[in-house]
């Protein structure tokens, strides 16, 4: 299943609800474009809801890292919400769990940007 991205605003935070796979050719470019567009518009607070993402490959992991660094370079922040077990395990295996700010509750995630 390809990646679908729905965007919504909550208290100054743009929440991207992602659903599907983030892999080479199936979502990594969509994610990159969505992040760049938001940062280009000056959005500083971005929360990626990965609750419906059950597959990320090495390219997708790279895209998450790129999103994080692109945001940081523009004084913006990207945080992750609602990791599935598979994605959680992948981030632990690759030590990226220590890099990202990861939340499991949307309300506290939104509050953490303030």
């Amino acid at each position: 299943m390809a990646l679908t991205i729905a965007s919504r605003e909550v208290d100054g935070v743009t929440v991207l609800d992602l659903s599907g796979r983030i892999t080479l050719g199936e979502g990594s470019v969509q994610l990159r474009d969505a992040i760049r567009e938001l940062i280009g518009k000056g959005q500083k607070n971005i929360l990626l809801n990965l609750g419906d993402v059950n597959y990320i490959d090495s390219s997708g992991l790279g895209e998450l890292v790129s999103a994080f660094t692109t945001a940081k370079n523009q004084a913006a922040e990207v945080k992750l919400l609602n990791l599935t077990k598979k994605v959680h395990d992948l981030l632990q295996l690759t030590k990226l769990y220590t890099v990202f700010d990861i939340k499991d509750d949307e309300a506290s995630a939104i509050a953490s940007f303030k």
Partner: protein, 130 residues
């Protein structure tokens, strides 16, 4: 990338038929997908005149996947460690690491031209599966 998805789906099917549990099946399919992506992207560099070849076998004791490309060749010794602090924030370089993490054996063989990767997942004896 259609060929990559086909290879992934075939690996997933073989792993399922071999009785691997959901996690192991996921890992096998992902490792094979990563190997196929490497072959098409880094090996053949999307050159449509070059072929990626994949063969799968259930030996009874193991699942054996062989994926080869016709690229410039890959020396695994030169691959940076993606877990090293200086590499952690790189956008690439995790594919082979994931393959090694998910499979029981990974072998590289240089072709002329290209690289052949053999990925092996050992199957538990029937008595252990029960």
């Amino acid at each position: 990338m259609e060929s990559v998805s086909e290879v992934e789906a075939a690996a997933d099917k073989l792993a399922g038929e071999a009785g691997l549990d959901e996690d192991a099946r996921f890992h096998v399919a992902m490792a094979v997908r990563e190997a196929a992506v490497n072959a098409v992207l880094h090996g053949n560099e999307y050159d449509p005149t070059k072929q990626m070849t994949a063969t799968f076998e259930n030996t009874g004791a193991s699942l054996v996947f062989t994926i080869s490309d016709q690229g410039k060749g890959l020396d695994p010794a030169t691959l940076p460690d993606p877990l090293a602090p200086e590499n952690l924030m790189r956008g690439t370089g995790r594919g082979i690491f994931l393959i090694r993490s998910f499979m029981d054996e990974v072998h590289f063989r240089q072709l002329h031209p290209g690289t052949e990767l053999t990925l092996v997942k050992h199957l538990a004896p029937a008595a252990e599966k029960a």
